[in-house]
């Protein structure tokens, strides 16, 4: 296995003139400093979050749960409770009810749909379990809050339309503004100004 790697680094025993000169003139350290110096002239890759910029995740991102409606605006959730059953941490509560008013796609909708984000580990098994594609893990990831109660999110909030459209490809850094509220701090993205970092 010598031909692989160790040969290049085995020069410590026989110190030739060349090696001695290298050592005297600090070539090894200069080589490293040269690499770092070169980076002075390259583009910055860091992201100024949360003041000016924000990362918009890719489509498959597993953030805060979203409940969806179909094209006619009917609730897709039929209250089948499969998400509750598939959840390894038992953080989802579903209470189904019968509904004849045509709110949902069938005559059964979720009366209550609650997720406890303190227990959730965002594994996405509920998403896989959902037979109607009602439940999707969305792209919201700023979930810190000042109270524990806020971490239990219910259907009424999750079914609202997403701030980032579903079709948006993601994987970009966009311009953003920091908004401090009483209950939460949010970074509002502006999708029109985008950049990629690599």
């Amino acid at each position: 296995m010598n031909e692989l790697s160790t040969d290049n680094h085995k020069n410590s025993s026989s110190l030739s003139i060349k090696d001695l000169l290298k050592k005297v003139f600090f070539i090894d350290l200069i080589q490293g400093l040269f690499i770092t110096f070169n980076y002075t002239f390259t583009k910055t890759i860091t992201e100024r979050y949360p003041d000016d910029e924000k990362w918009i995740p890719y489509k498959r991102f597993r953030g805060l749960h979203t409940l969806n409606r179909n094209k006619e605006g009917k609730e897709l959730c039929v209250g089948c409770e499969l998400c509750q059953k598939s959840c390894p941490t038992q953080c989802i509560t579903v209470i189904p009810m019968e509904d004849k008013t045509g709110k949902g796609i069938a005559d059964r909708i979720a009366y209550r749909w609650e997720i406890n984000l303190l227990r959730c580990m965002f594994c996405g098994l509920c998403e896989d379990a959902c037979p109607t594609e009602a439940l999707k893990l969305g792209r919201e990831y700023e979930l810190a809050s000042f109270s524990m109660q806020r971490q239990i999110r219910s259907k009424e909030e999750l079914i609202k339309p997403q701030p980032i459209p579903v079709e948006f490809e993601g994987g970009v850094i966009v311009r953003a503004t920091l908004e401090k509220g009483d209950k939460e701090i949010k970074v509002k993205p502006d999708l029109s100004v985008q950049k990629r970092w690599w």
């Binding site: 296995m1 010598n2 692989l4 790697s5 160790t6 290049n8 680094h9 410590s12 050592k23 070539i27 090894d28 350290l29 080589q31 490293g32 040269f34 690499i35 770092t36 890759i45 995740p57 890719y58 489509k59 498959r60 991102f61 597993r62 089948c80 499969l82 059953k85 598939s86 390894p88 580990m121 965002f122 594994c123 996405g124 098994l125 896989d128 379990a129 037979p131 594609e133 893990l137 994987g171 690599w198």
Partner: protein
């Protein structure tokens, strides 16, 4: 001391290193028995991150345990997922389609690169070379971007599932992955430029923490820690799983078994992993990614929407799980840190009777006493970094 006849013999001092010490890679508690500045004995005290993973597995359906394996070695979740699902697949006797196998190889090699990047970066950080970790993290960030695109998470991927993977490669993934593989070897040259020849790096690592090939085998070391001692043992090569036998790659080994050799092995493994990914991206065939075994594997979402049988299987599998045959299996893979094995005993019910995890970091950690005996206190930091233990995996 055995050799220090001229050393001043003082009273033995016991020093606690950790569990909050920044260079102990997590919650490691090391009890060091010291004679002056030299180590007489190093005892790792583990268990601060114990969550009872093996017991949790006994109370969950087979498919529900996959996200928990993410939390074992959280720096390379993908290989943990792979180790577990391969063990269950062996129990169920499922064959994954070709495309699924190639995707698994690509993702686990990416995972290997990201794990080694952090190992080398944090190692530099521990020994005072702070630049390297910033550079290593840039490439690691690229890999995390790729993983986010692929499975939606940056750390706890939960991408593998029993019988395949959670989703096919998204459009644009192969191009981006190729771009990464093209950039990466040049970046490894940069790391080597920063570290490999650096005299401080050499003085801190050469001849430190020496473990001979025979001792390494006796201690049960695996992965880069074993190969650094010159033992040519890599499960990918010696007991090929998935499609590793179709790729041309070399197993990097060291000679002296010191910290520096372990570093060289890691760097070389990163290069070889990039080569494997490149070949896999060229060879990857079209086709399904999940095995078509309705009694064990969830049917595709489109089928659930349109076909009655698929919908029935879907409901059945989610709510009751599946019942594998009675029996025991052991399956192991080459994770970035060493041999990761899962031993599963099935009693024929839908939950495993017992899951034993052979975590590489846990076994490698017992080499620490052998490696740091007689060394200076500052060398222990280099030894810990060279073993690269991750405490999610050690404590389980």
């Amino acid at each position: 001391m055995e050799n220090g006849n001229r050393d001043l013999i003082t009273r033995e001092v016991t020093l606690n290193m950790g569990p909050q010490h920044p260079s102990t890679h997590g919650v490691m508690h090391l009890i060091l028995h010291m004679q002056g500045e030299k180590i007489v004995k190093a005892e790792p005290d583990i268990g601060f991150l114990h969550r009872g993973m093996e017991k949790i597995a006994e109370n969950l359906l087979y498919s529900q345990f996959v996200p928990y394996t993410d939390r074992l070695d959280y720096l390379s979740s993908m290989t943990n997922n792979l180790g577990y699902v391969m063990a269950v697949e062996k129990l169920l006797n499922i064959e994954v389609p070709e495309r699924g196998k190639y995707i698994r190889v690509i993702t686990s090699e990416l995972s290997r690169i990201s794990s080694h990047l952090l190992a080398v970066g944090a190692w530099g950080l521990d020994l005072g070379a702070i630049t390297i970790v910033l550079y290593a993290f840039r490439e690691r960030e690229m890999i995390l971007d790729l993983f986010e695109m692929l499975c939606g998470a940056r750390l706890t991927y939960n991408y593998m599932k029993i019988g395949g993977v959670r989703g096919d490669l998204p459009p644009g993934f192969i191009e981006k992955c190729k771009e990464f593989v093209n950039i990466f070897p040049k970046r490894v040259d940069e790391y080597e430029g920063l570290l490999t020849g650096n005299r401080i790096w050499l003085r801190r690592n050469k001849g430190i923490g020496v473990v001979t090939a025979e001792d390494a085998i006796n201690l049960g070391l695996t992965g880069p820690s074993l190969r650094g001692s010159g033992v040519n043992w890599d499960i990918r090569k010696d007991e090929p799983y998935l499609v590793y036998d179709r790729f041309d790659f070399k197993v990097a080994t060291g000679e002296n078994g010191d910290c520096f050799d372990r570093y060289i092995v890691r760097v070389e493994e990163m290069r070889q992993a990039a080569r494997i990914i490149e070949q896999a991206l060229q060879q990857i065939p079209d086709g399904p990614v999940n095995a078509d075994v309705p009694e064990f594997v969830l049917p595709p979402k489109e089928d659930v929407m349109t076909k009655m049988e698929s919908l029935i299987h879907h409901f059945k599998l989610i709510s009751h799980g599946f019942k594998p045959p009675k029996g025991e299996v052991y399956s192991s893979i080459e994770a970035p840190k060493g041999e990761l094995g899962f031993y599963i005993i099935s009693d024929g019910s839908e939950r495993p009777f017992r899951v034993k995890i052979r975590a590489p970091s846990f076994v490698n950690l017992q080499g620490i006493d052998h490696m740091s005996k007689g060394a200076y206190f500052a060398d222990v930091v280099a030894v810990i970094s060279s073993l690269d233990p991750v405490f999610g995996e050690v404590d389980k």
